[in-house]
Amino acid sequence: MANLSDKIRDYIDSRKQDRLDKFDKDTQKGVKAASAENVAAYEMERAALRVSEEDRFKPANWLSDAASRAKQLQLVTHALKFTHSDAKGTSLFAKASVSSALPFVSTSILETPKIDVVGNAAALDVGKLLLLEQDDGKLLVNFIQQDDMSPFEPLAESKEQLVDWLAGFKLAVTAKDPSSHKLAKQLYWPIDGNYHLLLPLYATSLSQEVFERVQHARFSEEQKEARAARRTEKMSELVTIEFPDVAVQAFGGTKPQNISQLNSGRGGRSFLLSSAPPTWQSQEKPPLKVKSIFRGPFSRKVYGHLIGLKKFLVANLNKRSVWEIRAERARRIDDIVDQLVAYGASVRSFPAGWSSHPDCHLPLHQKLWLDPNRRAFDKEFEDEFDKKEWQGLVAADFSRFLNAELEKNSDIATGDVEFVQWKVLTAQELRLVQDDVKGAF
């Protein structure tokens, strides 16, 4: 069980090793290049230099140097440069939030946010030092934030040194003179006749969590195995996970390291989750070449809904018809009727008269429902429309379609009581469809 002091020592040692290896390699060239009589002198000088190099890596010396360089970078959870790579101003290490009981997702719901480093890339080694982790996940920087210098005590030569180090390292986690920038986002929020000016910063720690989960779903061995099992239709304990609608936002162009350390690790990419509304514009063409919208154009739209409804009915077939089940069933049918109403509305937005196309094989009542504006220049069509018979016919079509879909499933269509009740419900629901069809104009 290595404690943090040992980890600091190890870290400095590894830096020292890297540095000395490089020194040896570089000076080796010098030895080779030196003429024979100079070799001895050169070797002397080289040894002396090497000692001073080593001296730099005495923990106390290195730490003093690191503490003085700490101000060149900042450990943050929220970074400004994502907004614009030329923006200069405050990035922040957010304090733990007020209350996590709120139903919102933000950095404050993360127990241990991954910390990002921004600033001078030459000081990144100091950043790595501060992110050293204790076995329980507590970071060196957390000690600094709490003014607790215990991990440094065994390495310091005096009390004064500890005080200096603390002050130096603290600069990496305190926002100095808060400032924004002309390239940063700044927005007004109205509060009782006055305003607050809000300065949004990019939540790089939260973004990191999402990024890691998407990457895991795509590239982890576990997921590869799960997907292979799915491809070959084999059993597996595993569940496949996919993020179907992500978009990629890139930061920093060819130099993601200019934005932040985590951004560099993400290859400058971050993932966005879709919040888009359901789309209807996939309907570029009116429903031609079909005998009914319930055979294709509309049925495809509600395929997922129907599967869900059937599953639900089968799962609850033999339970007592409790209120929750009825409510859920009703909700699911509502959704399908919604789709019907919206489908009708979207087809009606095609140019009036589309249903007179020779390729339109829909029955008259569906034409009347989906192309009402044709009445303006088609007297016969108008007369039929005014009879209003088409409303009942469309509702009946929908009813037959829904029942046929459900009867495909032998479990539901056992002619049991449930199914009878179910038809009653459908009929009720269809009165509403009729309402919608009637009220469409």
Binding site: H78, L92, A94, K95, S97, V98, S99, P103, F104, V105, S106, P178, S180, Q186, L187, Y188, I191, Y195, H196, L198, L199, A203, V210, R213, R230, E233, M235, S236, V239, I241, E242, F243, P244, V246, A247, V248, Q249, A250, S270, L273, S274, A276, W280, Q281, G308, K311, R326, A327, E328, A330, I333, D334, D335, D338, A342, V417, Q421, Q428, D435, G439
Partner: protein
């Protein structure tokens, strides 16, 4: 609620399609910001006694300017070529997502609107909107603007409410579903972030079926088009007094650093709404939690089917 501005079919080009960690629709903060900007214009030009407060958004169609490659199943934004810098190199720029959309807005209006200013107001709103940015995009056209002076009359009767809402089809209204997110966090006992991401994930699992296995999608038990949405900002620093922060656009008001916060939203068909107030969003500041919220009053209702008549039918069988 007394009066309502109904703005039908605003077609917008180049609106912002990115909201924090989400994409596909501008954030609600844009539309509430627009509502407030309109209020400022109305108060200076039409009547100081009018207030615009609260707005509902219905999206009829939308198209993000992006493309995807079928290999990685990712979407990429179509980006603009920007002018070169003065030494001829490529200017640094940040990826922006743009979209086209056709939306309708309902905006609540408070204050006296005597008949003589009604027409002026409607005309003014149209002019102001055409000159405004909507979620950062330009307005191409507006179909119609209507001022409804007694919204209560429409809302009380089911038939008048339905016919009002039906005019908003085809389209979907955005409402908030904090309740679903809360419920899912509780039931699943997952970390909040994982529970939240469940609504953006497709999971499939296998069941034995003879010597093969059948893989099916595990659906969540919630129905509806549920999506992660950005709902406002959370303070991440103290509130600084006016003038304490350098390089801000306004040194006369308090300043706070914030991050975007997210919750669940649902796109629902507007004609399913039982009460118009369920559609509206408004801005709220909670000083104690340092929250700048877009709040929506949606209450999940019992479906229409569950009236007494239906229940009786079932008891009798």
């Amino acid at each position: 609620m007394d009066k309502l501005l109904v703005i039908r079919h605003i077609k917008v080009e180049g609106a912002n399609a990115i909201a924090g960690l989400t994409w596909g629709f501008p954030s609600m903060t844009s539309f509430l910001g627009l509502t407030h900007a309109l209020q400022r214009k109305v108060q200076t030009k039409v009547s100081e006694r009018l207030a615009l407060n609260g707005c509902a958004v219905i999206c009829h169609s939308s198209q993000v300017q992006s493309h995807s490659n079928n290999m990685s199943r990712e979407n990429y934004f179509a980006l603009t070529r920007n002018p070169l810098t003065k030494d001829g190199s490529t200017a640094p720029f940040n990826e922006e997502g743009k979209m086209r959309m056709d939306i309708s807005l309902l905006i609540k209006l408070y204050g006296p609107t005597p008949p003589e200013i009604e027409d002026t107001l409607v005309e003014f709103i149209e002019e102001a909107l055409l000159a405004s940015r909507v979620a950062g995009g330009a307005v191409l056209s507006i179909d119609e603007i209507e001022l409804i002076t007694d919204i209560g009359a429409i809302n009380r009767e089911r038939s008048t409410r339905k016919s009002f809402l039906r005019k908003l089809l085809p389209g979907f209204a955005l409402i908030s579903r904090d309740d679903v997110l809360q419920d899912h966090i509780q039931k699943s006992q997952k970390a909040p972030l994982d529970a939240f991401l469940d609504f953006s994930i497709r999971k499939m699992s296998s069941k034995g079926k003879g010597d093969k296995a059948e893989w099916t999608t595990n659906r969540l038990e919630y129905t509806g088009w549920l999506k992660p949405i950005m709902v406002g900002y959370q303070g991440i620093s103290d509130v600084y007094e006016a003038g304490q922060v350098e390089h801000v656009r306004d040194r006369s008001c308090p300043v706070q650093f914030v991050e975007s916060i997210y919750s669940l939203g649902q796109w629902i068909s507007p004609h399913r709404i039982d009460d118009l107030k369920h559609l509206f969003w408004h801005q709220e500041y909670q000083a104690s939690n340092a929250l700048y919220l877009c709040k929506n009053d949606y209450q999940p209702d019992t479906p229409i089917l569950l009236n007494d008549e239906t229940n009786q039918t079932i008891e009798e069988k």
